[in-house]
């Protein structure tokens, strides 16, 4: 059975060779990966992604991504959208240039100004990583949970797993309506494997774990928690 993904952010740089802004995207992403947020980010290799790398594409489908492009052609953002899903954040270096592009140096060798811009972009990426990982991220609607209006939540959508990694989806009844939760069977199996019995503390842990992969509105949390715990109890009885 496939493993549930730990929450991280995928970073995709265009690495365009034609202009210094492309080199800036490369350096900025590497800086975030190596120094600023090493445990929270994964780099997605754009050439491999475009050439058919299924591991990278599957990751990008099930995790929030930040595309970092050098120019308005937005190859990283468009490629990500084409093969996995719209990136959570799209940064275009040329949009935020305070100085003339010629001050950045060449694509092959950035000037001091170019290196500083790379550091600034890296800081910007790191802030976006923090924002993406703090609130609940609605993978289906591709935005943080806070931006969802309550009336949208009253129309539950069938979650489909298109990532190709085989993450199962299961439905349950919450407050009289059917909701689908991504990864529910896997979470149950993990908890059962760890010997966690149906209890109030398990209920809290279940909700916190499932929230990583599913939008669970705060105002409905109690109803979700109760439904999930009952389903888990039934799962444990079947497993005995």
């Amino acid at each position: 059975m496939p493993e549930l993904a730990k929450k991280k952010v995928g970073l995709i740089a265009c690495s365009g060779e034609e202009m210094p802004e492309g080199t800036i995207t490369r350096l900025a992403v590497r800086q975030v990966l190596e120094s600023l947020r090493p445990q929270l980010t994964v780099t997605i290799c754009l050439p491999l992604f475009l050439a058919g790398g299924e591991g990278d594409r599957a990751f990008a489908r099930s995790h929030p991504t930040i595309a970092v492009d050098g120019c308005e052609k937005r190859c990283a953002a468009r490629g990500t959208e084409m093969y996995s899903g719209k990136p959570a954040v799209s940064i275009v270096v040329s949009d935020r240039m305070p100085t003339d592009s010629s001050e950045l140096g060449s694509a092959r060798r950035l000037s001091g100004t170019g290196m500083q811009v790379a550091r600034d972009v890296a800081d910007q990426i790191a802030r976006h990583v923090d924002e993406l990982l703090q609130p609940e991220w609605d993978r289906r609607r591709e935005r943080p949970l806070e931006s969802i209006k309550p009336q949208e939540e009253s129309r539950p959508q069938q979650a489909t797993c298109s990532c190709g990694s085989g993450i199962p989806v299961e439905t349950l009844q919450v407050g009289g309506r059917e909701v689908a939760l991504i990864g529910l069977p896997l979470v149950f199996a993990q908890f059962r494997g760890e010997g966690k019995l149906p209890s109030n503390s398990t209920k809290t842990e279940l909700i916190e774990t499932l929230r990583i992969y599913n939008p669970i509105p705060h105002e409905d949390e109690a109803a979700y928690a109760e439904a999930i715990l009952q389903k888990y109890a039934a799962f444990c009885r079947r497993s005995n």
Partner: protein
């Protein structure tokens, strides 16, 4: 042959050899063969820039890949281009076992030397494609 040879490096961001491919392509296109070659970004080939695809259909390409997955070669062929020569940086590494590169954002000295060795090899191929005699 008078048409510029298109050079497509993978520029992979996950390994040193991707950076060597990128740097080697720059050495070739800017220093060694600026009149005979042109760098072509891989992403523009995939994402359907019409003028990029038109260039690809009318000229021959040399791809430089940082790993055995050969993304640049696959992408050029997938777009209907002709890969006249598909180079693997790893093969160049084997011919220069004393030059083990490290660093991705910034290549170390061995990485730069390996990039130069790669560019020299590609230059020979370009010279042959342009019908020039290369001296041993």
């Amino acid at each position: 042959m008078k048409e510029k040879v298109l050079v497509v490096p993978c520029s992979g961001i996950g390994k040193s050899l991707g950076s060597v491919a990128r740097e080697g392509a720059y050495v070739l296109a800017e220093d060694l063969c600026p009149q005979e070659t042109k760098l072509l970004p891989l992403a523009l080939i995939v994402l359907g820039q019409d003028e990029t695809r038109a260039e690809l259909s009318s000229a021959k390409a040399i791809t430089i890949d940082g790993c055995v997955r050969a993304c640049a070669a696959k992408v050029v062929e997938g777009a209907g281009g002709t890969v006249a020569h598909g180079l693997q940086v790893l093969d160049v590494c084997r011919r220069h076992p004393d030059l083990k590169p490290s660093g991705i954002s910034e290549l170390d000295e061995s990485g730069h030397k390996l990039a130069h060795a790669l560019a020299e090899e590609v230059k020979e191929l370009v010279d042959n494609m342009w019908g020039r005699v290369t001296h041993a």
